[in-house]
């Protein structure tokens, strides 16, 4: 287990309704030594984990089979858990409060997601 990874031992929530994308994310996060919470496909499941699990960060697909993942983002923000959106939408298509959020555009490369989540994490004296 590499302790060089900024995500090492971090608990990362994954909410993504496409099975194969979710599995790819899971695999990429595990390869970066993160602990994956989920992945889950629905708003209800995502909200449940966002409220009950100890989390360091989250990756959220914006469109969950037609419903928007914004309530999960709000819930996480209320708990000061940083998150990034994973979406096929351009930022202009998002509601105004979320336009300045961290966004990884689909189709994505696993490295980009890992870097985006890394950028959300505090340094915790690893200088």
């Amino acid at each position: 287990m590499s302790h060089d990874s900024p995500l090492a031992a971090k608990r990362i929530l994954v909410v993504e309704d496409e099975y194969f994308i979710a599995r790819d994310l899971e695999r990429a996060l595990r390869a970066a030594d993160a602990i994956v919470i989920g992945p889950v496909a629905t708003l209800e499941q995502g909200l449940d984990l966002a409220e009950t699990q100890e989390l360091d960060a989250a990756v959220l697909d914006v469109n969950l089979a037609g419903t928007r993942a914004f309530p999960i983002a709000d819930r996480l923000s209320a708990r000061s858990v940083p998150w990034t959106f994973l979406t096929g939408y351009d930022d202009w298509a998002l509601p105004a409060p979320y336009r300045s959020a961290s966004i990884v555009a689909k189709p994505f490369h696993a490295d980009r997601v890992i870097r985006a989540i890394g950028a959300l994490m505090p340094d915790e004296g690893r200088a």
């Binding site: 496409e18 994308i21 298509a93 689909k106």
Partner: protein, 531 residues
């Protein structure tokens, strides 16, 4: 022939003082009458007749006319013939008897001298005047003539002429006529200016009331001073209700702050623009309008009032919104499907095998996705018929529906993303059956059947059953660890909340997919069942 061509200046005329004062008073009264009448005369001809009547009364002439050169053409149009003139006519010309003014007369003869030589002319022996050209048929015999040019900006543009003084015209009549001349010109021009301004006002009003915009005027603090009929018709507010700040009643409550801000800038800016909703009385809802206001300035540049228009942009905005939604959804779908294709590609390659086989597998999966996409984008609803989905997949690999293959179930349509996953699952099962199962062996049979089950809790499930029989036992079930197995066992439950069962039995594959159907999809089902 008159010797009046070079009259002595009027001021030196030997006139008895009393007569002169009396005469001046009469002339003054006549001038007043002409100028007053200029405002109330209904036509130029009426005004002209009045001028001629005054001139006849003051000079004692028997008849007269008033003419104007048409656009420096050398032709004269009649503006008026006096009542006495019409009455004196003895001819049979029907146009004359209908009081149709003669127009386009060549400027010549005795009257022509007045225009051409640009001077007042007295002719007391017209019969022997060198310029005489004769009289029109029916014209009363001309005993004597007094013609006066009418000038504007130094140019002679018209004239009036008096005929048949009982004793011949003298300097006295000439002086009276010349005093009347400027008043007649002024009266005519005033009349014309008024007619032009009225016509221009009418044109402007017709324009303002004819355009689709709502038009209004206001003071700099946004108090309306006028509203067009379109405003009244559209908002249902009367002009009286809209004046002052009354118009705000038609503004959507959420846009009233913006309307205040709009007028707050009126001091600083030349033009104001805002978009806001106005009440639309006909439909009882608010519509979006683009409102512009332009200042009307006086000669010194100070703002006198504001002229405003409100243009209906509701349809435009709705189309824009709709377009943005469509573009966003399209982007989302395209990017999502690319991401899925990428994942499928990775998995297909990871499964290993010869490159031809990998290539075939990947192409088959891509085709299955493409088929669903095509069907989904061909219908307005974006929904895919389950039976077609299954049939297309099987017929695509050359399977024939006979006693060995049955495809049966009620009409069910699926949303595009569900159809995508189910389509892929059917593709994987079909490929497997073709390579190792019921579609490969002559003894094999395949029954595909589906139905909708209503549960006591009010929820519905679509149950699709794939049942192969008669396949000779296989030593190793090849699908077991591949992409298809993961798809059916993991992906369908994950993404669609389905319950799945996949068995590699002796005799062939048995697979059941139980898919929860959203309430609206069941509604769809009922409708299609009724239909």
């Amino acid at each position: 022939m008159s010797d009046s061509a070079d009259p002595p200046p009027r001021a030196t005329m030997p006139e008895p003082p009393v007569d002169s004062v009396q005469r001046d008073a009469h002339v003054l009264a006549g001038i007043n009458r002409i100028l007053r009448e200029a405002l109330s005369a209904s036509t130029e001809e009426d005004l002209g007749q009045l001028c001629l009547e005054v001139a006849e009364d003051l000079t004692g002439a028997a008849f007269s006319f008033f003419g104007e050169e048409r656009d420096s053409s050398g032709r004269l149009d009649h503006l008026a013939i006096s009542e006495r003139g019409w009455a004196a006519y003895r001819g049979s010309d029907p146009e004359f008897s209908q009081r149709k003014l003669p127009n386009g007369l060549k400027i010549h003869g005795i009257f022509g001298e007045v225009m051409i030589q640009d001077r007042t002319l007295i002719v007391n022996e017209p019969a022997s005047h060198p310029a005489r050209v004769g009289l029109p048929q029916g014209h009363p015999v001309l005993h004597n003539f007094l013609g006066v040019p009418l000038r504007h900006n130094g140019e002679t543009f018209a004239m009036f002429a008096l005929g048949n003084h009982p004793t011949g015209f003298t300097e006295r009549e000439k002086a009276i006529a010349e005093e009347l001349a400027p008043a007649i010109v002024q009266a005519l021009l005033r009349k014309r200016a008024e007619v032009a301004s009225r016509a221009s006002r009418r044109r402007l009003l017709t324009l303002i009331e004819g355009i689709p915009q709502l038009v209004w005027t206001a003071t700099s603090d946004g108090r309306w001073t006028w509203a067009s009929p379109q405003w009244v018709t559209t908002t249902g507010l009367s002009v009286e209700e809209s004046l002052g700040h009354g118009w705000q009643a038609a503004v959507h409550p959420e846009d009233r702050d913006a309307a205040h801000a709009f007028w707050a800038q009126a001091g600083d800016h030349g033009d104001l623009t805002m978009e806001g909703r106005l009440f639309h009385a006909e439909t009882g809802r608010y519509r979006w309008y683009k409102t512009r206001a332009t200042p009307v300035r006086d000669d010194h540049g100070a703002i006198i009032e504001w002229f405003g228009t409100s243009t209906d942009i509701d349809n435009l905005r709705r189309l824009q919104d709709r377009q943005e939604t469509l573009v966003a959804e399209l982007q989302h779908r395209v990017r999502n499907i690319l991401t899925i294709v990428r994942s499928i590609f990775t998995r297909t390659v990871e499964a290993g095998g010869p490159i031809d086989e990998i290539s075939d597998h990947f192409r088959g999966r891509l085709d299955a996705l493409a088929r669903t996409q095509i069907v989904a984008t061909q219908t307005v609803s974006g929904r895919v018929d389950l039976e077609n989905l299954i049939r297309d997949e099987l017929l695509g690999v050359g399977a024939i529906e006979d006693e060995r293959l049955s495809i049966r179930g009620p009409d069910v349509t699926l949303p595009a993303d569900t159809a995508e996953s189910i389509g892929l699952a059917i593709h994987e099962l079909t490929t497997n059956a073709l390579k190792y199962g019921a579609l490969r062996h002559a003894t094999g049979r395949l029954a595909i059947a589906w139905h909708v089950e209503a549960h006591p809790n009010g929820k519905c499930e679509l149950i699709v059953k794939w049942d192969e029989t008669g396949v000779p036992a296989m030593p190793v079930p090849p699908v077991r660890e591949g992409f298809g197995t993961e798809l059916i066992r993991e992906a369908l439950p994950y993404g669609l909340g389905a319950r799945t069962e996949l068995q590699f039995r002796g005799g062939g594959v048995f697979c059941v997919i139980s898919l929860p159907l959203p309430a609206e999809d069941v509604g769809q089902l009922n409708r299609s069942a009724e239909g």
